[in-house]
Amino acid sequence: MTGSGQGVRESRTPSGAAHAARGGAAGGARRDESGLPRTRNPGGAGLRLGSIVVFLVLWQVLAASLHSATLPAPAVVFQRLLTETSSLTLPWHLSITLARVGISFLLAMVIGTVIGIAMGHWRPLDMFLDTWLVLGLNIPALVTIILCYVWFGLNDWAAIVAVAINKIPTVVVTVREGARAVDPRLMQVAAAYRLTRRRTFARVYLPQLYPYLMAAARAGLSLIWKIVLVVELLGRSNGIGFQLNVFFQFFDIAGILAYTLVFATVVLLIEAIALRPLERRLTAWRG
């Protein structure tokens, strides 16, 4: 797989030249299946680990010097985490919150993508919905949550709809940009060869949207899990947000920190294990 080798004999396109330049700079770097050099940062893992250790040390020093119930030491928080986990209370609330995050996320992505594509390609619809979009982007999440609970009752669907409504406008804006950036010359290739609609969509159109969809997904996940906690705090009787509210009532800071740590870690893991590898795979051709 050495496209660069043959390419030297002929004139290169600007992008090809750029890739070659990067490949040259990488020297003996290993290449993946596509022939692209893999960038490695051998000190990266050590730095990340060091950063966590420094954070824990600072936390410990601060807790010891304050000696206050408002900032328990890391050991106290981890002890609380173990207790909550072994009693299955934390896993149960965590699973409920993750289910709400997942459903809201999928709902927002699907609806936002469909509307974004339609607005990107159909100017009258874009003009018609643009005001709604600006409104949606600027309404505070809290307002939507309160209104959904008032209109639909204190139930799970109201919670999920409230979260999705908060996220949909940002997905629409991102996907609309992607739809506008679709290369008509590539679509002409599909038309000239009379590709089926399905193949045109899957192999020619959708890949052009992948970078935008991934951007919307990653930004969406980080926004949605924060809104879900507020939704649970305001109107649900289970989930991490509900538990945080209970801990707040009892001034249980160790509980708040233990649940927050676990939930944030889980969301970071989803990002690292699912979203980032998916993005790398879908946009590997960009190099």
Binding site: M1, T2, G3, S4, G5, Q6, G7, V8, R9, E10, S11, R12, T13, S15, G16, H19, E33, S34, G35, L36, R185, L186, Q188, V189, A191, A192, Y193, R194, L195, R199, R203, V204, P207, Y210, L282, T283, A284, W285, R286, G287
Partner: protein, 253 residues
Amino acid sequence: MLEIDIARKTYPDRGGRSHVALQGLRLAARPGEFLCLVGPSGCGKSTLLNLVIGLDRDMEGRVTLDGRVPGKGVGVMFQEPRLMPWLSVLDNVLLVADDPPQARPRAIDLLRAMELGDVLHTYPGRLSGGMQRRVALARAFVIEPPLLLMDEPFVSLDAPTADRLRSMLVDLWQRRRSTVVFVTHDLREALALADRVCFLSAAPGRVVLEMPVELPRPRAPNDVAVLELQARLLAQHPDLLAGLVTTEPPNDA
């Protein structure tokens, strides 16, 4: 048999007025014929190809291939390779095949014949301009098209690369005998490739001269016979052919 009979093709210009791109254009290509269309910039060559491909259907007239409107199975090469950057070389070629698993051996054979066997799984962005055109050529031939439409496919390439691609094109065409309609504004290129050359007038484009090229193959744009034929044509039709002669010096490739 490809038959083109366009009474009139117009499109609105920037001022909103109707611009006549083609008028009274009649043309036919026999099965297996290599037909070159030559004309000055803006004479409607690309417009004509878009009408034949079916990317544009707004015209007064008709285009038929064996009595029917050209549809699936027509090979196309544009001025740029227009490869999907997210698909590998092989997948780009298979993209246009009706049954990709069945077409896979054929696609690999084609790519190997074009000296692209080492980069089957490479993304197009890693390839040179010449290699990308070869992939586009393989994509056009993988469907074994009865008609292949080419819109200045080797423009902006350096002379040796363009010569190599022309040679590959003629080799494939001679083996598969597709009807080829090749648009160019380079008279030497047309004379090196064509069985017959049709000259289009400035806009509104129409065929003003047809000429069979009876030089033996293989030919190259810098062959003495091609240069002599070009010189003769220039002497006979100086006004018609003004601007169609490339100014780059002949190379010895």
